[in-house]
């Protein structure tokens, strides 16, 4: 009990860092978590599919910088649907590995994820294959019977150019038991409102705001690769970072094809604890005494 109180107190007093995902919800850049830092965030999405009830999917994310070239994340997913249940839908464990030691005009990162979720998951952290609006309108009690143990790989390519961030993700996903390889993509472009920082510590400095746009969707399976009957989305995003590093993001998302959900609203908040590893080691080594 005493240790838990110490951990809770430490979370409040530990130095924060700027949470670093930028304005994107789906697209990854090659920015890695700083070694020893722990970022906690919640990514939410809500929508009302045709023929279904309004839902709210939420993914709680714990992202840790193991090394400067290796970032590991754990997601805990859940959802609630109007007039239905609120359920925990599973977990995901992902790892990202930076391949090249230096910055280049395009920078590759390899991403591997294991997910153990059920069919009721509505966090929509990626869109692959023929994922579409129909998946969101299925009753939770039925959908959660479907078990999804999947391995997902992404090739993340991204570049920084004169303040702009451009990222492209190519996604391949495979159910470990059966079903074909499924493919998808995500691309994102973002920029801070201004490039130079102000000297004052402020919440509303223009450098604290980033604007961006994301596009993502499914690309079918290895046997049926292409855009036919796939869902695609276009999503402007805005990110606001407070002076203490807390980051808020909002993204109205528009479905572009007949199989896409018409409109989704994504919103999230992130907070990063700088040098969590050092603080935790100190806490357990000497009880947090200075």
């Amino acid at each position: 009990m005493r240790n838990r109180l110490w951990i809770a107190a430490a979370c409040l007093i530990l130095p924060s860092a700027r949470a670093g995902e930028g304005p994107f919800f789906i697209t990854y850049t090659h920015q890695m978590e700083e070694p020893g830092n722990l970022e906690m965030s919640v990514k939410n999405v809500t929508g009302k599919p045709a023929g279904g009830s309004r839902f709210w999917g939420a993914a709680t994310e714990l992202e840790y910088g193991v090394k400067a070239w290796w970032t590991s994340e754990l997601y805990l997913d859940g959802q609630t649907t109007a007039d239905e249940n609120t359920v925990f839908t599973g977990y995901r464990w992902e790892n990202r590995f930076r391949v090249l030691p230096r910055e280049h005009w395009i920078n590759p990162v390899l991403y591997f994820e294991f997910e153990n979720i059920n069919g009721a998951d509505k966090t929509l952290l990626e869109v692959v294959n023929h994922d579409g609006e129909d998946d969101l309108s299925e009753p939770t009690a039925d959908a959660r019977q479907e078990k999804k143990r999947e391995i997902e790989a992404k090739l993340i390519l991204s570049s920084y150019f004169k303040g702009w961030t451009l990222a492209e993700n190519f996604i391949a996903e495979k159910n470990v038991r059966h079903e074909p390889y499924e493919f998808g993509y995500a691309v994102g472009l973002s920029r801070p409102l201004v490039l130079a920082a102000k000297p004052e510590r402020c919440n509303f400095c223009p450098e604290n705001f980033q604007l961006g746009v994301e596009a993502y969707g499914g690309l079918g399976t290895h046997a049926n690769l292409g855009f036919a009957e796939t869902s695609h989305y276009l999503a402007p995003t805005i990110c606001w970072t407070l002076a203490n590093g807390t980051e808020f993001r909002v993204s109205p998302t528009y479905g572009l094809t007949g199989t896409s959900a018409g409109f989704l609203l994504r919103f999230g908040v992130s907070y990063e604890i700088a040098q969590f590893r050092r603080a935790a080691q100190k806490l357990f080594r000497d009880g947090g005494r200075p």
Binding site: P15, A17, R18, G20, G22, T29, Q31, M32, E34, P35, G36, N37, G65, K67, A68, W69, R98, P101, R102, E103, Y160, K162, G163, T165, P192, L195, A196, A197, K198, P199, E200, R201, E207, G245, A274, Q275, R278
Partner: protein, 123 residues
């Protein structure tokens, strides 16, 4: 065998150079657009406390494996070399890349670092 020799000589994982020493010579030709600019120095101080201080210490004194930044190697380095280090990091030695910061913000940090070293160099 030649490939093995090539890897040993070039692979940055195996080389124990400091980030400043591993910067290419051409990086030193870049000049700081905010050189001696007081506003940029103050902005750099703010950015330093957020981006660098968690590892290098609030007074740049160095913590654990993160070296002190008030040292001859830093204040003798050309601004372009420090810019290169911030952009690339030294990811196999624990320092991440800060390329996600806009160039202007990286120069502000360097302006602060130069001023910090100009005031109280250790040696």
């Amino acid at each position: 065998m030649r490939w093995l020799l090539f890897l040993v000589l070039t692979c940055p994982i195996l080389r124990a150079e400091t980030p400043v020493r591993s910067a290419p010579a051409r990086s030193s030709s870049k000049t700081n657009p905010f050189n001696d600019d007081e506003v940029a120095r103050r902005a750099g101080a703010k950015l330093f406390s957020r981006e660098c201080a968690p590892c290098h210490g609030a007074k740049a004194e160095g913590i654990g494996k993160a070296p002190p930044l008030r040292q001859p190697e830093v204040y003798q380095a050309a601004p372009g070399v420090l810019f290169w280090v911030l952009k690339n990091g030294s990811i196999f030695h624990g320092m991440p890349s800060f390329a996600h910061l806009p160039e202007a913000q990286r120069w502000e940090i360097i302006t602060f670092l130069r001023a910090l070293n100009a005031r109280k160099p250790e040696n």
